[in-house]
């Protein structure tokens, strides 16, 4: 694994090297030295809370913003650095906006045709048909955007972006304007379409579930910094920072001390997988799905609250030390608040953090 998390052998389509961008004379830092690489046909998600700089990163790649420092390459060609700036219309980048930005005065077909101006008539016609077919809207080509539903509009936007066969397509929170039903549906569709088209894609979202579902790799951003970029399961099971741990799934942290092969905590001793030197004080990440609880009158932990979430019950448990952890149990396993329980943990991955630092 290279430092930015890609498999070195894939052809690089996007490369960001230490890209920084700030606004307002340096007061607002949007991105801090972000480096990432995306390979051909890869779908990368940029995940993070609002204001974390993910949309800015996207716009930097597209060319709607210019970086203050660092360089951006697309398809091996430098499109932005200290001396060079290639404008968006010459980068070969397709973009799908959060609100789709379909041209209201053009039909769906004309929207899709917009980027194919330089193609010859026959090729253009064919390509339009292909694109509409790809997104499943072949019969609706003559409609205007206000005559289409949200999901349909999004598909037109996607078709429009893909039609000119761009090197990379960028999607800005593509599903946030859809209702929950549509969203689930569209995620699958878009995933399929992108794979079928074989285009490299980078999309931005604040929804972890979405990122995990669609992307090959997920990058987590926090206040302009790319904290980790990896495959979803790696991110989930071995988060690099506390922020990533908390943002992707839920996490509790309990203190522990390194003693030889194990890390001693209130919940037991965990294997010292990272080979940390003894005597160190760390915090161990515990996910709710790692925590088992068993009703036991002699147990030393108590159930504080229980929330039925449909597919599971989320318990908040107080440990003898007074610290709380959460536990996710099956939907039929019910233990009432106040009951005494015994708590067991056996995580497959043991992730530890020093004070506030990442330790990977």
């Amino acid at each position: 694994m290279t430092a930015d998390g890609s498999g070195g052998r894939m052809t690089e389509v996007i490369r960001l090297e230490r890209v920084s961008k700030s606004y307002g004379d340096g007061d607002i830092i949007a991105t801090r030295e972000i480096s990432l690489v995306a390979g051909k046909g890869e779908i990368v998600a940029l995940l993070g809370p609002s204001g974390c700089g993910k949309t800015t990163t996207l716009r930097l790649i597209a060319g709607f913003e210019a970086p203050d420092a660092g360089s951006i390459e697309i398809g091996g060609r430098i499109v932005a650095n200290e001396r060079i700036f290639v404008p968006p219309e010459r980068r070969g980048v397709g973009m799908v906006f959060q609100d789709y930005a379909l041209f209201p005065h053009l039909t769906a077909r004309e929207n899709v045709a917009f980027g194919l101006r330089t193609w010859n008539v026959e090729a253009r016609r064919k390509r339009i048909a292909e694109s509409l077919d790809l997104v499943g809207l072949s019969e609706l080509g003559g409609r205007y955007s206000h005559e289409l539903s949200g999901g349909q509009q999004q598909r037109v936007a996607l078709a429009r972006a893909l039609a000119p066969s761009p090197q990379v397509v960028l999607l800005d929170e593509p599903f946030s304007d859809l209702d929950a039903d549509m969203r689930a549906h569209m995620r699958q569709d878009v995933h399929r379409i992108l794979h079928q088209a074989g285009t490299t894609a980078i999309f931005v979202t604040h929804d972890q579930e979405e990122a995990f579902m669609i992307a090959d790799r997920v990058g987590v951003l926090n206040r302009g910094r790319l904290e980790q970029i990896d495959q979803p399961d790696v991110i989930y099971h071995t988060p690099a920072t506390r922020f990533v741990a908390r943002f992707v799934g839920s996490a509790d942290f309990i203190p522990g001390a390194v003693e030889g092969d194990g890390i001693v905590t209130e919940l037991g001793t965990f294997p010292n997988q990272q080979g940390l030197p003894p005597g160190q004080a760390v915090e161990v990440m515990i996910r709710p799905d790692d925590v088992e609880l068993v009703a036991d009158l002699a147990g030393d932990a108590t159930v504080l609250t229980r929330h039925f979430r449909g597919s599971d019950n989320l318990y908040c448990v107080r440990l003898p030390s007074g610290r709380t952890v959460h536990s996710s149990q099956g939907s039929t396993k019910i233990v009432e608040p106040g009951a005494r329980i015994a708590v067991k943990t056996d995580p497959t991955h043991v992730v530890c953090f020093h004070e506030d630092e990442a330790t990977r």
Binding site: A62, G63, E89, R90, M95, F97, A101, F114, A161, P164
Partner: protein
Amino acid sequence: MGLLTPAAALGVAVVVLLTASPLLNLCMAVLAAGSQGVSSLLSGSVVTLMGRTLLLATLTTLWALVLGVPPAWILTRTDLPGRRLFRVLGVLPLAIPPYIGALTYITLLGPVGLVNTAYRALGASGQLVNIYGMWGGVLVLGLFTYPYILLLAGSALESSNPALEEAARAAGYGPMGIFAQVTLPLLRPSLLAGSLLVFLYALSDFAAVSFLRVTTFTTEIYHQLNTRFDERGASTLSGVLVLLTVLVLVAQRRSLGRRSFVQRRTGAKPPTLYPLGRWRVPALLCTFVVLGGSVFLPIALLLYQAGSAATIIQTLASGQRYLWNSLWTAAVAATVASGLALFVAYLIDRRKGLVGLLLTASTQVGYAIPGTVLGLSLILLYNTYLPWIYGTAAMVVLGYLLRYLPQAVQGSAAALSQVDPNLEEAARGLGRSGWQALREVTIPLIRPGMVAGWMLVFISSIKEVAATLLLRPAGFDTLPVRIWIATIEVDFAGAASTSLILIATTALPLFLIKRLDTGIPQLD
């Protein structure tokens, strides 16, 4: 998005220079007037003048509110039959400049007007009414500016959320209570905007108050220009007037923030309509009276005053030149204004910060300067520094341009703000350059707004008289100038005929704008 490119910076400089230079020159003239100017300012007569002008403006505003709010409510919130037609007609008074309105009401209510003649025919002596004076000024000005209130209030009423009123109804309020507790507070911003508009208009009006023999700042400035041999007195008065209008303007802007004047239909539920029942007749009466007094009656009086169709045709035939002058100067001003407005609106929208502020302020200059003062300022400026332009019809076009550029900018800015900035970026992502994106995506979308803006400037320019009187070169008269001269020379039939011709040229574009239904940002 900080710095401008050299080309854009040049454009900004040209616009700012063009619009701010008359004002700056006026300031210099005021300063040059020096101590004499200040002492004349402090004299009692100027204070009286200010009092009278402000009184006129205040009363006019109140009167316009009385005339505008009830019809606004009746036409948007009740089931009055024919209300759609009435709403279209309600805009028509804007085709009639107040000075023409003044002429018609002099015909009706003047000392030798129809009412007094009838009164004397009945055997009485003396006169029943005399429209000359303050109350006549208020009556006429209010009657021909109430459409601003009607339009703005009507628009606000139309697009307000019915849920609020339904909640009040559920709480037990009747129609009166709802109006007082819910509707009126909602109307406040648009009423404030409309009131300030009317106030500003009354402050700046020249021809109507002249005809009605009310002495205000503008008439006094005109008096000074035509009796004295130095412009110091006129310049000083102009300075005070501009200060007044700027204060009003600032108050107006502050009260509105960045809110647009016309709220677009949000596509939400339409407001609830109240059934009129037995109130139908009074409501119809109210609407008829207001519309009648501001549209039908004046037109009828003009026809009466013109005498016959033959007179009108003859006036048209002998006055073709004036019609042509009016049409082409207004058209050129509207075109240049639209072009500049697009440039300015684009920069204001896309670049916040100092540049946007500077452009906004400088293009608003036109609102702050009444026609008389603008004419004076332009004469002072161009005669001194650009004499090859002075004395040509270009000055007239320039006067219109500077005075009405704000309207065009407002129209373009409003239209532009409705366009998703992402659209341009989408176009660029698909291979278009910035300029191509503007042309292929943005402009087609704001075209209706731009056309409305063009027509607004056109209509306002056609009606303009105060600046034109001062700026026109020898032999170059426009329709309003002819009306002015005809009135002074007591050729009422000629004045009426020319008025009818003028109204014909302004009514048509007004209808077209209403049909385009893009909303009317601000009018003059």
